[in-house]
Amino acid sequence: MNYDELIRFISYFLDKIFISYAFLIIFSYTVLSLISGFSLNYYLKKNSFVDYSVILDSPLSPSVSVIVPAFNEAKTIVDNVESIYTIHYNNFDVIIINDGSTDSTFQELEKAFQLEQVNFAVNMEIPTQEIRGVYKSSLSTFPNLIVVDKENGGKADALNAGINVSEKALFMAIDADSILEPDAVLKLVKPFLERTDRRVIAAGGVVRIANSCMIENGRIMEVRVPRNLLARMQVLEYTRSFLMGRIAWAKLDGLIIISGAMGMFDRDIVIQSGGYAHTIGEDMELVVRIRRFMSESREKYKIEYVPDPLCWTEAPVSIGDFGRQRSRWTRGTIETLTDHSKIFFSTRYGAMGMLGYPFWFIFEWLAPLIELLGIIYVMVLYFTNNLSLNFILVTFLFVYTFALFFSTMAILYEEITFHRYERRMDVFRLWIAAVLEPFLLHPLNLFFAVKGNVEYMMGNRKWGKMERKGFLHRQS
């Protein structure tokens, strides 16, 4: 075999790999979107008969702790705590963990809620950094507010401290900047109540982007598409991911992530499986670990996903913040996948082992790397005069039309199901974002995902800081 023949052989082989990979991705996403469509249809019909208010004052309803880790959130923490108290539920407490903030987070809480130190004996079922003190609000309007002041140990450590302090059957972990829908707890509790022979160990809900939305007294009053283009394109991303991805994964029993912005868990199971791990992708890692724990204990279980938008969060609007977030997500994914590599194609772990984990490995971790390889390959072909420009254009058009079709489907799903964007122009703006996304957001995503891989190899385990711009508040 001479040099030219070798090049041709390698080229033939790589062509097949890239094309097969592209077809496989498109096929997987199409199947997932179809499953999501059926699931959403069933859920909406089912939900139209549900009266959630029966949970509110029933003595049979479970107790819930809302756990909020806070690190340097002085500017927004008081508003955020007040917003949590707008939720509709009776049997709940709120546990704020000040994770050794270096700003005045604790002082703000102390002043606003008139905190008093109490003699709280914490059962350290999960080891954490030292707890400096446990405080309770002396205001009658915040009867169940507990603030834990502790040494800095990271988000996972703070959440573990909250779990130790909680005495409730279920806990809901949320980010300090999350805005909850008033019925978020009611809707997340319901799957736990529907337990049959399979124990429900966790439930997640749809997280949406709140940039440019109107907020009043900690509640979303008017939903708008973000004015910032980067945030707007992330709205599309979130819609696709939650409405067309995770719902299908929950249906297939292959879900391996519940967003750290909001998720509800069975406290006993989390404690038995060791609590949150000190990783950068602690939300995904916890779900994988509790699933592993249940599978290895040979107990029947399930993880549920509620398709309703239950939580709103702020998306990064600067490329720097966006990059830090995406590279962290990539590192978190790699860390979780490598820590639990035993699951890969293992029948012991059911759909998680045979579907969920392989999907994340092949289409989440490897996708940006394969795409980068593809770009390098095209460049090599170009410089060696072996590139068919027509073929590249057609392939690009193929991927682009699919991306646009898929995003348009996501907008259609949103319109059929929850239609939260009431203004017609908002839907049009979203679609324009879908047209631009493959040219603007996707290259950024690719770059930061590759960067995340490199950083992971270099041993970077830093969380990174995102600057909050704050939400739009309606003038009273």
């Binding site: 004996a121 002396s138 337990r195 039309t401 348009t408 679609w431």
Partner: protein
């Protein structure tokens, strides 16, 4: 006649037999030219690509996605407009029918308007009317209810509801069950009974609730044949009905020997919440139940029924129990305020388990000022962990 021939029959014949005027053919020309151009485009692309099946597949997929996009975009616009139109129409009709029904209840509705309502044909209109009738009937005034039911029958909405129950799709069946049970229409009871074992959980719950309303003298008969797990969600819905509807509450001990543990647990909860003391002997019989979750509920129920005699038995089984039931037993001693059991509680304080120590301290504190004093004395010689627990229990803010 000539108008019909020239304007209807001739054009149809031309369409069917191809004798079309030149103007009409222009549309087909346009479509044909679009197809030809598309074909030319595809051929142009194919000519410049190596000929193979993959390339063809890619081109056809691009066309498919493109056509799908062209279909999807107007669909989104149409959907947005339709949803707004439908919601507005519903609100308008709801208001109109609410006024009509209120006038009917006050005997102030004119004959013409009543006739118009009776002749209502549109399914959407009839659906709004049922919603209005059910909403107004929530006032639970017998006279109002009777009049609403008679109007429901006059408009023949009952046959609509029956038809819905017989439909294949589960959500339509549920609507039918809701309407019939609300209007106390018993004609489809057998069919609803069949739904009790249905695989669809929502349909099952609605059938249970429907039957509770439809069979007021034997509302919980469905429990006898409950094969599937009776989920907490179902229990909450049923309990809500007990509270709101003031239906005849049965003696729940009748289901304590049910083969389905979820029914037993529900019955125990009901005995506990409704304080059915006469059930105590049958509850006691379950104290050694195989299922730990049932056993836990038995302990809680016995405490709520203030059964002091059970304590000796609970203490006997304590050692062999798992942690959750051990905690339940300790808690029960505290809740029953049994000073005589202080020795047992103090002995358990020597355990290393945090939860057991915490529960013991709480139980001792429940004995009142005497118990609190006892805890303070214990704290003097206690280890660090126990001291913290005692301080926690004695802190009135916690």
């Amino acid at each position: 006649m000539s108008w019909w021939v020239f304007h209807i029959i001739f054009p149809i014949c031309r369409l069917m037999f191809g004798f079309l005027p030149k103007e009409s053919l222009k549309v087909f020309d346009l479509i044909q030219s679009i197809i030809e151009r598309l074909e030319a485009l595809v051929n142009y692309i194919f000519e410049r690509l190596p000929y193979n099946a993959l390339n063809r597949l890619i081109i056809y997929l691009i066309i498919t996605f493109f056509v799908a996009l062209i279909v999807l975009l107007p669909s989104i616009v149409f959907l947005k407009l339709y949803i707004t139109y439908r919601d507005r129409k519903y609100a308008r009709l709801y208001k109109k029918y609410s006024n009509n029904v209120i006038q009917y209840l006050m005997n102030a509705l004119g004959e013409a308007e009543l006739d118009e309502i009776k002749k209502m044909n549109s399914r959407f209109h009839r659906r709004v009317m049922v919603d209005v009738l059910m909403a107004i009937d929530k006032a639970e005034n017998k006279e109002v209810s009777d009049k609403i039911r008679s109007l429901y029958k006059e408009i023949k909405l009952d046959s609509d509801s029956r038809r819905k129950v017989r439909k294949r799709s589960w959500h339509k069946r549920i609507r039918g069950i809701r309407e019939l049970s609300h209007m106390r229409e018993k004609s489809e009871n057998q069919r609803i009974l069949d739904f009790l074992q249905h695989g669809n959980e929502v349909l099952r719950i609605e059938s249970q609730i429907g039957l509770i309303k439809l069979l007021p003298f034997v509302p919980f008969a469905f429990l006898d044949s409950q094969e599937k797990s009776f989920t907490v969600w179902e229990q909450i819905n049923v309990f809500d009905l007990i509270r709101k509807k003031r239906i005849e509450i049965p003696e729940f001990h009748l289901w304590l020997d049910h083969w389905n543990d979820s029914v037993v647990m529900f019955s125990l909860d009901m005995i506990r919440i409704l304080k059915q003391k006469e059930a105590t002997p049958k509850v006691l019989e379950l104290i050694n139940h195989d299922n730990d979750r049932v056993k836990g509920k038995v302990i809680k129920t016995l405490v709520e029924l203030e059964n002091m005699d059970a304590v000796a038995q609970l203490k006997e089984m304590y050692l062999l129990e798992e942690l959750p039931n051990k905690l339940n037993i300790i808690k029960s001693i505290g809740q029953l305020r049994l000073e005589s059991e202080i020795g047992f509680l103090e002995k358990e304080l020597k355990e290393e388990d945090f939860k057991i120590r915490m529960e013991c301290c709480k139980s001792i504190a429940l004995l009142g000022a005497w118990g609190e004093q006892r805890l303070q004395n214990i704290a003097l010689e206690a280890d660090n962990q126990l001291k913290k627990i005692i301080n926690h229990v004695l802190d009135p803010r916690l």
